[in-house]
C-alpha cells in the first residue's frame, strides 16, 4: 500500500485558495470541483485528488499547511480511503470538473 493526498472538503470548501492545484508537480492530479463543496452547503467548491495519478510527494500538504495555513490535506494509505476520485470517473466542464467517487482499490 502507499500514501496518497486526501483533501478535507469541509476545510477546503470554506477557503477557496486553490494553491494546491498550482503547486502539484503532477498534471491533472489535483482538480477543482464546484459541486463538491456547494452541494454540501459550503460557499465554494473544493479541490480533490485523482488518486491514480498521485505520486505521494506531499508537496501539497506543505503548501496547504505553510503557505495557505489551512491544514486541509493529509497523506493517507490508499486502502484507508473508502471512496476517491479516479481519472476515468472525472468529467471536465467549462469552469470546473465533476468526479464520481469510487473505491480506489480493486479487489
Amino acid at each position: 500500500m502507499y500514501l496518497v493526498a486526501d483533501i478535507s472538503v469541509e476545510i477546503c470548501a470554506a477557503k477557496n485558495c486553490k494553491l494546491c492545484t498550482q503547486y502539484c508537480p503532477e498534471a491533472n492530479t489535483i482538480l477543482y470541483s464546484d459541486e463538491m463543496g456547494k452541494d454540501k452547503g459550503f460557499k465554494y467548491g473544493s479541490a480533490y485528488v485523482a488518486v491514480d495519478r498521485c505520486k505521494g510527494c506531499a508537496q501539497c500538504v506543505w503548501v496547504c499547511d505553510n503557505m495557505a495555513k489551512n491544514n486541509a490535506i493529509k497523506m493517507i494509505m490508499i486502502d484507508q480511503l473508502p471512496k476517491a476520485a479516479l481519472t476515468d470517473n472525472i468529467t471536465y466542464g467549462e469552469k470546473s470538473t465533476t468526479a464520481v467517487l469510487a473505491s480506489p482499490v480493486v479487489g
Partner: protein
C-alpha cells in the same frame, strides 16, 4: 502546427482514450488559460516518469500552461531529466542530440518562418543545466550571438541528476555530490551575465514557488522571441534526489534558495519593452507620461 492537429479524425472519436478526448474537448488549445484556472481544464502535460515531488516537473507543468499558443509551439530538448516530462505533452517535441538543442532550434525557427511567414510559430528550448551550460554551451551562446528568435529555458537543478550526481558548470562552489565527493572547486557559471553580453532581448531568473511569476516570465520570453531576438530564462528546479531534499520540503527549499542566491531578476531590452507595449498591450512598458512629455522637442 495548428488547431487542426487537436481534432478527432472523423469516425475515430469513440476509439480514442479518455485522456485524448478530454484534451480535445477541454484542453487549452485555442483558449486563453492561466495558472489561476489550474485544476479546471485538461492540461497538455500527461503522466510522466519524473520522480515524485520534482520541482522541475512543476516548472514544466507551469511552462506548458504559460505558452501563449500551445497549438503553435514546438519544444526542443536534449538528454536529461526534463525531456522525460516535456516529451509527454500534447505539444510537438524535438529531441536534440546532447548539446545541439539550440542548433536544432535555430534551424527549426528559421524554417518555420520561411514556411509560415508572419504567422507566429514559437520554438522553446527546455534543457537542463548540463545541456545548456556544459555540453551545449557552444551552440547556446552562438545562437544568442546570432540573435536567433526562440526561447531558451535552463532547468537548473545544479547537478547531473540523471546519471548519478556529477557536478555541472551550474553546481555551486563547494557542493559535495555522490560523484563529486571532494566538492566543486569552481564557481557557478554566470549564464545570466553571458546572456546579456550576447545580446539576449529578455533574461530572467525564476524559482517555481511563485506560479504566477513563472507564467508571466515565460509568456514574455516567448512573445519577445517571436520578433525581437533571443530570450533566456534560468529556472531553479531543485533535484530532490541528488540534494536529498524530502519531497514535502521541496517548496521550502525553493523559498530558501530564492532568498539566498536565486532572487527573481528580469532584464528586458528597450526594444523588447517597446514591442511588448505596442504589440501586446503590456501597460508596465508603456512610456511614462512624464517621460513622454520630457521627450517632446522644446520641453527637454
Amino acid at each position: 502546427m495548428s488547431l487542426d492537429y487537436v481534432k478527432f479524425t472523423p469516425g475515430f472519436e469513440k476509439f480514442m482514450p479518455k485522456e485524448y478526448r478530454d484534451m480535445v474537448d477541454h484542453g487549452p488549445f485555442g483558449k486563453k488559460v492561466t495558472v489561476s484556472q489550474m485544476g479546471s481544464f485538461k492540461e497538455v502535460l500527461e503522466e510522466h516518469p519524473m520522480c515524485a515531488g520534482c520541482a522541475m516537473t512543476l516548472f514544466i507543468r507551469l511552462a506548458m500552461i504559460a505558452f501563449p499558443n500551445p497549438e503553435d509551439t514546438i519544444t526542443v530538448g536534449t538528454a536529461g531529466c526534463g525531456r522525460l516530462a516535456i516529451s509527454q505533452a500534447a505539444v510537438p517535441f524535438v529531441y536534440g542530440n546532447y548539446g545541439d538543442q539550440n542548433g536544432v532550434a535555430s534551424g527549426l525557427s528559421r524554417g518555420l518562418r520561411l514556411r509560415f511567414g508572419d504567422k507566429p510559430k514559437d520554438v522553446v528550448v527546455m534543457a537542463g543545466d548540463g545541456g545548456t551550460a556544459d555540453i551545449g554551451f557552444q551552440q547556446v551562446v552562438h545562437s544568442w550571438f546570432r540573435h536567433e528568435r526562440f526561447t531558451t529555458i535552463m532547468l537548473d537543478n545544479e547537478v547531473y541528476g540523471n546519471t548519478g550526481g556529477q557536478e555541472s558548470g551550474m553546481t555551486n562552489r563547494g557542493a559535495v555530490l555522490k560523484m563529486a565527493p571532494l566538492g566543486k572547486k569552481f564557481d557557478k557559471m554566470d549564464m545570466v551575465s553571458l546572456a546579456k553580453l550576447a545580446g539576449c532581448a529578455y533574461v530572467a531568473t525564476v524559482v517555481p514557488n511563485n506560479p504566477r511569476r513563472v507564467e508571466s516570465v515565460i509568456k514574455k520570453a516567448v512573445l519577445i522571441a517571436r520578433e525581437v531576438g533571443s530570450t533566456y530564462i534560468q529556472a531553479y528546479t531543485s533535484c530532490n534526489i541528488e540534494y536529498a531534499i524530502p519531497t514535502d520540503k521541496v517548496m521550502e527549499d525553493a523559498k530558501t534558495v530564492e532568498n539566498d542566491r536565486y532572487a527573481f531578476s528580469e532584464y528586458v531590452s528597450d526594444e523588447a519593452k517597446e514591442y511588448l507595449a505596442e504589440r501586446y498591450g503590456y501597460k508596465e512598458y508603456l512610456p511614462k507620461p512624464a517621460a513622454a512629455a520630457a521627450a517632446l522637442p522644446g520641453k527637454a
